[in-house]
Symmetry: D2
Subunit: 298 residues, 4 copies
């Protein structure tokens, strides 16, 4: 029996377009192979994937199973032919989505994955740290494909203001004075034309360099002391974390076009409060460059 369930195609009783229709939270392991990243451990990344297309005003429904089908095909291919990056996979999916949803004008994909990478403590011991990769793509029918590359990194901030206050209250010397410090979660995303290549590993490095100190799974006594000393020698507001990432982005990506879009967020789980502190910047690389050019001479 050929099932001809065509409910989704039914016409005549709808009038409003929909911006995004799709599936969220599809879990899949994706085999990635990229020069310079990962080892045995990063053979397959466990991904959580959102997949959307838009829907014209006169069509009742989107064929959601096609979204998962496009994904499954690509994931299956990745076992034989690993993808070169989650953002490349996202772009490839967007292109296929526009083929399979012949009524759609736009397609978008967003991917999150845990990612483990070796790191080194201040005193040089090796550790394995967890990061979250963020990747995506958007396609417009008849237009280009844009990709998004980013990461979420957990680090540590020590508060510059409390440090100065304590210094005034106790008369202690400023460079090693106690302050409140806490976990900070910082996210940076770059969106650009598909042809441009940016390494997620570089983004992780830029974020990690923006904290008062990176954090580590395993710290022996002397390393633990050193992390505390480093963090207090380098106190940072959430504002400072965002700005440090912005500066690293402007300086590192001098060759990228001005229409690269950048979002950087930093959230501190304040140890002295029950709520969090938050800072964010969204801008084009062109805007940031203009601000940077006008920065006060050092």
């Amino acid at each position: 029996m050929a099932l001809k369930c065509d409910v989704q195609y039914r016409k005549g009783d709808t009038w409003s377009k929909l911006t995004k229709v799709g599936v969220t939270g599809v879990r899949k392991p994706v085999v990635v192979r990229r020069e310079g990243i990962g080892g045995a451990l990063n053979g397959a990344l466990n991904c959580s994937i959102d997949i959307f297309v838009d829907l014209p005003a006169d069509q009742k429904g989107s064929h959601l199973s096609r979204n998962v089908e496009v994904l499954s095909d690509i994931v299956e291919e990745s076992i034989r032919e690993p993808v070169t990056g989650l953002e490349d996979m996202a772009c490839g999916m967007c292109r296929k989505l526009l083929v399979h949803h012949e009524y759609a004008r736009t397609a978008s994909v967003a991917i999150e994955a845990e990612y483990f990478r070796e790191s080194r403590t201040p005193l040089g011991r090796g550790t394995l740290e967890m990061y979250r990769l963020l990747a995506g793509g958007t396609a417009v029918r008849g237009g280009g494909v844009r990709k998004t590359i980013g990461a979420e990194v957990i680090g540590m901030t020590a508060c510059p203001c409390a440090q100065q206050t304590v210094s005034e209250m106790t008369g202690a010397d400023g460079t090693a004075v106690m302050s409140h410090n806490q976990r900070n979660v910082c996210t940076a995303l770059l969106t650009m034309d598909e042809g441009i290549d940016v390494e997620a590993d570089d983004i992780i490095d830029m974020i990690q360099g923006a904290f008062s100190s990176p954090t580590y799974e395993l710290l022996k006594r002397d390393d633990e002391g050193q992390v505390v000393i480093n963090a207090h020698a380098n106190p940072k507001f959430v504002e400072d974390v965002v700005r440090s990432v912005l500066e690293a982005v402007v300086e590192r990506y001098a060759g990228l076009p001005g229409d690269v879009e950048i979002t950087v967020k930093s959230e501190s789980e304040e140890s002295i409060h029950k709520h969090d502190a938050f800072a964010e910047r969204t801008a084009s690389l062109g805007e940031l460059r203009e601000e940077y050019r006008r920065r006060p001479s050092q």
Copy 2:
């Protein structure tokens, strides 16, 4: 001792503006009194509040404690003089934020609160149902204040496509054929000039009317059967839920200006899948009206 910690005001070593700096997840009970809503139970709403201003390029930090101070003042006042709505409170806070952060050009506040309201089952029994109120405000220095009113409501959808497929596979009659059904979470937000009044209760009603069926805390046997029958007599995709809310908004708010911004989202926790289905529309009321005007004659 007068503490002169002026770290935040320090100039000279920053160059990038920040879009949003503030605090997130501040928990406060707020006493709301509004004609027609709530009873004894809604005297105080437990709110989770995010508060932001922007930051100019040459200022090191934002004074985050002022955000909580503005909030605490308004909450304390609400005990003596209840606020008329969370969105009004958000707008009032935005205005005060621009006074207290003299360097800021924009301010924004977002509020979430659990809200209980009486409802009636299909067979007329009273129940008490939980909703989530969403409210907010944004202010631009020297410009106007916009407010946001909305709600998140949990309901039920039954799938029209699976119903038709089962009908074809079993030969059963279409109006009472089984299908998969599941929890659906639908959110609608309206953003408009401060002077306009929209009732959150109306938004809840519009969302509730858009599901295959509302859901209820307490259902005796016959009511449970009736909910199942109602849902299957009224099958809905996530797309349909969003469109039903859009239609209710266009028809109810004929008097509102075209620049009211609308976001409607519907997410179904698919019973047959481990992932969710999702649909969203963002548009101005003007755009929606234009689409509605061109709808096929019924």
Copy 3:
């Protein structure tokens, strides 16, 4: 039509008892009035409630709607006649559950609610802080009813070990040396016969006194400095937080019977790691007293 759906009573095809059958995450506002606690703000507590009975081997199903019915009756009554405490409400529900589930041998109820209470910063300014009340009851048919009272409180810990290490590494004086510090979530639960009265406010006080420092929603500069100074003058491991609560419990509740059961947990969201540190003790008050009696002379 009298619906005689008796599926739950169907006999003959089941053989295994079930330990707990019921509903979880039912949201209800409950009006509590108790001498000495709350003001206008705590008129109604937003509760999340789990309700269970056991099920004999030969009965197919439990009547889950009766659980919500028992709850709804008590909540409705609470509007006219406020409950004296969430734990009293839990015990009352357990008794009613055994009446309405005539086949059940045991009943249990667990309740969580946000709770706001005034506090004072180190320098004496008033703040409003959020806590989580935890309450419950269990009943055995023909036996007694036991109640559980507790709280989850967020505070701050500064690490004693990192402080000593930094002291050795920098040569700085030990009482005001920097360390890593972070949010700590501590929970204490006491379970006892129904006739005994224990105040949740006292449990909150005991937990709050066990941290390196309490935390506050609103801290002006000098208070922020003082919190940092206090926390570092009072460094605590997760182990210390649990033990401080245990000591407060033993000393305060000298009059309570030895069969009161105590669970205390402390979890630190370590600022220097991406994972948390955790400590827990479960014991009877009798066991704790015996350990306390044998403590080293001070």
Copy 4:
């Protein structure tokens, strides 16, 4: 400089034992190789790991970094010599923990990991489904080591009671009548002596067989219809899901000793309510066998 931070060993000012002290939420990829499970995709499992030992009354602190060190050593070894199972790794860790924490009397480890496995839809198409593996170990100094193996699986339940009610209300035939259906999350855990081998894949199979129907990432139209038909032909309460797993366990593990401990939980995200339905059984295999032996003759 040899740092001699011995804060943790400090004696004399503590009197209370602690039941568990350790770290929670440590993320690590672990390479597992086990006959019959996984393929390329399951080379490394992303694990979240909790690690605890107890602490005697007179010792101030536990050396938490040793927990992560024990873990890191085993994970690093797993790259060269894959572990044979997460539960084996947990047991090995427990043994090492008692060596490294010479003061501890007990050690315990709990591990969670996402796990992907191929499955087949009702009409035989291949899909890749996500499960959650649960594993653990506990060791008592001078006693034995016990291991825990289990899984969390997402499936679908259709309500037998609503189906019967609808049947009575509509007069429709009972075998294909509509009902409410929803996502169900079922967890089964078996704890046993270290020498016994149980396959997590078998536990997943038993759970999957206990739902009204398994669920699938990708369902074309006819498969979707078949899943709906299957689920309604096999309606299940949360109670039934737990009991089906218990029956499968008793029948499959006839050779295992009676002191194997079993916990089975089922939670339905009720489509007609905003809250969940829940059932649980905890018992020894011996108890279950005795109940099974006395079951009504079929």
